[in-house]
């Protein structure tokens, strides 16, 4: 029984069957990659997991509870964090403030009105945020505006913001898309470091085989909205169905 159980999920957009009968099981403390050619339904699946889309059929269970019908922020509170293709951070805020928001969210839940408390006085939270920044080598940039960070640093910051919430499941949506080789390698190293130092489950949606094969414990190949195969990386590499799916999609 995995921490995330996707059973028979289907989703239509008008006449287009984006997802049809997807079954997926992500085991705890593993890195599970979902790969597939363009239009395979990877992003749709991800959006179904985080509450942005509601699937037409099937169920999505996280740690034994259904996530369907819950809003994104409620799903996050269940312990699922998401990293976006282009880093979503609070550009106008400083790096430190960016870190503090998930800390408060974690502590206070969905809403707590605290107009007379002072951010600076929340010692424990500040220390935790700083610790996380240090872990990711971002501490010396904590007073910078997030918008002025480099792209790689933005990714790092976003990752830190997700990790500081101590999620049980981290969803990564093409974390290296559009990155230069060096940045990609940095990101891989970062993810490896996270994987090694923390008890965390990760689900990665990725295009880049290099990334996938450096990280994943298990891989699901998605094509035309249905899973083709699911196996360990070594087996996926030479799998005929996978090659067919990718070659048929020649690009």
């Amino acid at each position: 029984m995995g921490i995330l159980e996707v059973k028979g999920v289907g989703k239509r957009f008008g006449g287009l069957q984006a997802l049809g009968d997807v079954n997926l099981s992500v085991a705890e403390n593993t890195v599970h990659a979902i790969i597939g050619p363009n239009g395979a339904g990877k992003s749709t699946l991800l959006n179904c997991l985080v509450g942005k889309l509601i699937p037409d059929t099937g169920s999505v269970m996280f740690d034994g509870q259904s996530v369907l019908g819950r809003k994104p922020h409620e799903i996050n509170q269940m312990g699922i964090s998401r990293v976006f293709q282009t880093p979503e951070i609070f550009g106008d805020l400083t790096v430190m403030e960016n870190m503090l928001i998930p800390c408060f969210a974690k502590r206070d839940g969905a809403f707590r009105l605290h107009p007379f408390e002072t951010v600076a006085n929340e010692r424990a939270l500040n220390e935790r945020a700083l610790q996380m920044l240090e872990d990711l080598n971002m501490a010396e940039k904590r007073h910078m505006h997030a918008a002025s960070l480099s792209r790689g640093d933005k990714r790092r910051l976003e990752m830190a913001m997700c990790l500081v919430q101590e999620p049980r499941l981290l969803l990564l949506d093409e974390p290296t898309a559009g990155m230069a080789r060096a940045d990609t390698n940095n990101t891989i190293d970062l993810l490896k470091q996270i994987k090694e130092t923390r008890d965390i489950t990760m689900a990665i949606i990725e295009h880049d085989m290099h990334v996938v094969f450096s990280l994943a414990d298990r891989i699901t190949v998605l094509a035309q909205g249905t899973p083709l195969v699911e196996d360990v990386p070594e087996k996926i590499k030479g799998h005929p169905k996978v090659q067919e799916a990718y070659l048929g999609q020649a690009h």
């Binding site: 106008d92 928001i101 809403f111 006085n121 913001m161």
Partner: protein
């Protein structure tokens, strides 16, 4: 001190000092000089500075922090005023019950309007708030005349019940006997300073309002509001629902507006429907942007700026101009008067319009940025070589 860091405490103390010293600071020119026209240290205008300062501070909590541009905040101002005058009519001239109730009622009204309007964002939100406020205004001006006294404005009549009014109670707004209109005047040489009770009441309320807004800016709540302005998606995926936060900000700013409206009626016991018109809502938007949205002091400066023009420039007529330039030869005098004529008196709108444009073109951050630039001129630039180092984020509120 006061739960603030030393820097903010210093800031607050400066604000307190400036507010309390306003009657002196706004009276820089001797009475007999021609420039006395520019003195603004008389009670009514000082009260307006404080009151519209409160209005703008409150508006800034919504607009400056969350970025939600409400075009209907004047409705809360009007509701506050009407509440206070009705309390005069029903209970008596003590302003306290009215002010408290004004905050409660405008808060409830804001809760209702905010709950509906915040379902939309961007310009759709702005138009929803505008629509609510315009409906309130139009109805108050016409159909609701029995409650609002329409165009004339709600006022107290001698046959109103005023059940709590004692036999010797003052017959104008007061707080436990301290009459708002009373003043102490202090002549110093050719200067004349007026210390008005009403002003000091407004000033104390304004300082409190400012202090609360400062605390909100520095609080986790304020940080959440700024986060909403920057990136709602990330906030959602961080486990936070932005709606309660924006609604809370909307209600808080509505309460500020209601308080400001109540104070207007506390200084002058009449509530006119025009207070709710879209131009009044637009005015507070302009004040906030003009001063510098999202900064602590900016909106207050903007409020002062606009009210100063409205009250001082509109009173300069040709006679005054002639008096100023009387020392010049006739031809030059007439030329200068003719040159300035379109910009003062009935032309004060023109001057204001031009200044709006100049400020926004040359000072993108509003008046507050102008102040910062001037301050920078006087400050030594110690780190001109460290320009390439990461720039620390400016402290919010500067």
């Amino acid at each position: 001190m006061f739960g603030l860091n030393p820097r903010d405490t210093r800031f607050l103390l400066i604000v307190v000092f400036l507010t309390l010293a306003t009657p002196l600071l706004l009276q820089p020119f001797p009475e007999s000089s021609g420039l006395a026209q520019f003195n603004a240290g008389y009670p009514d205008l000082m009260q307006r500075f404080a009151i519209f300062g409160i209005f703008a501070i409150g508006f800034n909590i919504l607009f400056g922090l969350t970025g939600y541009l409400s075009f209907g905040h004047a409705a809360f101002l009007g509701v506050g005023s009407y509440t206070v005058v009705w309390m005069y009519k029903l209970l008596g001239y003590n302003i306290l019950p009215g002010l408290v109730l004004a905050m409660v009622i405008s808060g409830l009204f804001a809760l209702l309007i905010g709950f509906i309007s915040l379902r939309r964002s961007g310009i759709y939100f702005s138009i929803l708030t505008l629509a609510f406020a315009q409906m309130s205004y139009n109805l108050a001006y016409s159909v609701l005349t029995p409650i609002t006294n329409g165009e004339t404005g709600l006022q107290v009549y001698s046959n109103d019940p005023q059940v709590l009014m004692g036999a010797n109670a003052p017959t104008s707004p007061h707080i436990f006997g301290l009459v708002m209109r009373d003043s102490v005047q202090l002549p110093v040489g050719d200067w004349l300073f007026t210390f008005n009770i009403g002003y000091y009441f407004c000033a104390i309320v304004a300082i409190l309002a400012f202090y609360i807004s400062l605390r909100i800016f520095r609080s986790p709540f304020g940080m959440m509001l700024r986060a909403i302005k920057t990136n709602q998606t990330r906030l959602n995926y961080t486990g936070l629902n932005p709606r309660p936060y924006t609604l809370a900000a909307f209600v808080i700013s509505g309460i500020y507006a209601g308080l400001a409206g109540g104070l207007l009626a506390a200084m002058d016991p009449l509530a006119g429907a025009e207070r709710m018109q879209w131009t009044a809502s637009g005015e507070v938007v302009l004040m906030t942007i003009l001063g510098g949205a999202g900064t602590l002091m900016g909106p207050v400066l903007g409020a002062g700026f606009i009210k100063y023009f409205e009250n001082i420039f509109s009173k300069i007529n040709d006679n005054v101009l002639h008096a100023w330039f009387a020392f010049l030869p006739d031809g030059l005098e007439n030329f200068l008067v003719a040159l300035m004529h379109p910009f003062v008196g009935k032309g004060w709108h023109l001057t204001l319009g031009i200044l709006f444009m100049l400020v926004v073109i040359f000072l993108p951050g509003g008046l507050i940025e102008g102040g910062q630039r001037i301050a920078r001129l006087f400050r030594r630039r110690p780190d001109s070589d460290s320009r390439h180092q990461p720039k620390p984020a400016p402290h919010v509120g500067e």
